[in-house]
Symmetry: C2
Subunit: 343 residues, 2 copies
């Protein structure tokens, strides 16, 4: 029997129809064409192919924009938003527009063209997170920006166009609708119960353990009760913090371990699926942005979602905002937990 | 320079970054493997492969569940929701669930395995719409159902698993979040201005004409100001009506023409892209459902969206609810208008 489950944060329903799993699935596996080395803008020695670096972790005494780096952040060559200019909001007849002020950066995770995150050393993954934190802190000082999203598209079905491992950051002059929804839900819950919504989710998950995939001292990884996608996971910090960029080195190291373990489980249990990784954090908070779309320190908690792309977003999802998921999170967690343990 | 545009109905921003269009795109075209005739459950003569028919348009005097039909509606063999049973809503510890009551039907558009909608006769497309209307009217009598969504997934990138042309209908016991958002926006606009939001969009589009693709006496087809996808179109009825199922035969004929022309333009101008077609209509309205999520007859208008799937929904879209679109709707409309005219 199918069942509907409600996401306690986003308020959307997900239809779980396990019977659809037995249908003749025609998953189309799409191989990303390998980039020829001479075309890979992120290779060591190709630093001149990209805009100048905004941040890098390098060997001591090595000059910027040349070889000798471990992580490197540059502006996207084809940015969705541009950092130059003043923000200009206006009406266009009946409609509303603004110019595309923002930042679109690429965090090149490694000089190696195929060294995916789960195969990096723990120190390597931690360096990527340090670069993300450094860029968030820097962009939070730009008063035009309300929000910065860190995300990763891995593989063509997840929207990647280059196979060289990289993460992206887009900073923007408005607070995204998904973030507003989460903030509003978190605030309402906190006001109603004097408790943190994310802490209560964490408690519920740890109490049953049915959907928990992995834990260390800093993070609990679980398949959400109302997962939109098969094998979706949430990486939740156990200590309350609204802002990712305030994370200590110790927290980043524990997060690196959690990411490495769950991506390793995907690779071994699901044959390296394409995926999106999304970091949900609070909007930048300054007195001038203290509007309805901010957070008390106590009500919102930053967290990471990983969405393997095994099913398509289709007409039902666009028409409803709901999702159809053939795999219950309890089953998904069983599979991933076993893969983490044996990994 | 990129720009951001706001969708006046959904309230989300879309980032238009035309410069990204020149990047080395690696659109992966995925061919749907042809179904072998013996495996196609929707072929004439294979009526026993499906659950019994719920509705059909047949030659006079031909018995149900055998050959001799032109359009045929059956229950999905692998339904996301099931029609049997009472609705049961409950808490599961911290979370909320309900059982999967609903209906999941397939409108088989033709007995021919490759006769896509744009190649059908006008009478053929009209028959498909008549079947949709008949099923909506029937399901609106089931008091467990709050909403029925009609949609079409064409091609594997749009989530289709069978190539035989078909449309789907899912009726459900809750009003979808996307529908609620549209109803709330339409109501607020109407309350604030004493005018219909959709009528004002139509007027704005017809005044400039920059984004209009096709018009007949009943419908205006245009690329929305804040299109989420390249070449997205909206088919808007010019006469106010909240409920698709109240459409007259004359309106269905004009809608059939509009659908045929715009899908024909996609096929010729964009090389037959995969697409989702979504019918947005009001929730079923009865006194017992007269809650906040209904409509005055005057404020909401039913309409159709068609979303070609040339770009992926990726981390940015999941993290923000916003979209990045490399193609301005004015450019898209130019291309489609020319294809419609020469078609």
């Amino acid at each position: 029997m199918p069942e509907l489950r409600k996401d306690p944060v986003g308020g959307r329903w997900v239809v779980f129809s396990p019977e659809r799993q037995i249908r003749p699935q025609r998953y189309h596996c799409v191989e990303m064409p390998a980039t020829r080395p001479e075309e890979d803008p992120f290779l060591e020695g190709h630093e001149a192919y990209t805009p100048p670096e905004l941040y890098a972790i390098r060997q001591n005494g090595v000059a910027p924009n040349g070889p000798g780096w471990q992580v490197r952040v540059v502006s996207n060559r084809f940015p969705a938003l541009r950092v130059e200019g003043d923000l200009d909001k206006e009406a266009v007849g009946f409609y509303d527009r603004m110019n595309g002020i923002g930042a679109h950066e690429v965090i090149v995770e490694t000089p190696h063209p195929n060294l995916v995150l789960e195969k990096q050393s723990l120190a390597g993954v931690t360096r990527v997170l340090e670069a993300c934190r450094a860029r968030m802190i820097d962009l939070s000082k730009d008063t035009r920006m309300h929000y910065a999203l860190i995300f990763k598209n891995h593989g063509p079905r997840a929207g990647a166009t280059l196979p060289h491992p990289h993460t992206q950051l887009i900073a923007m002059p408005v607070t995204p609708i998904v973030v507003k929804e989460k903030l509003v839900a978190a605030r309402a819950y906190y006001m109603g119960k004097d408790r943190n919504l994310f802490e209560d989710i964490l408690k519920a998950e740890r109490r049953t353990g049915d959907r928990v995939v992995f834990e260390n001292d800093g993070f609990t990884v679980f398949c959400p009760f109302a997962s939109r996608f098969p094998f979706e996971t949430c990486l939740m910090p156990r200590r309350q913090s609204a802002d990712f960029q305030n994370s200590s080195d110790g927290v980043l190291l524990l997060l690196a371990e959690a990411i490495q373990r769950v991506l390793g489980a995907y690779a071994s249990a699901l044959n390296q699926p394409d995926y999106n990784l999304i970091l949900h954090t609070a909007p930048f908070r300054r007195s001038r942005h203290q509007d309805a779309w901010t957070t008390l320190d106590a009500d919102f908690r930053w967290h990471i979602e990983i969405l393997p792309r095994l099913t398509e977003v289709a007409g039902f999802e666009f028409g409803t905002g709901f999702y159809i998921n053939p795999t219950l999170p309890e089953e998904a967690a069983n599979v991933l937990r076993e893969a983490v343990t044996n990994g």
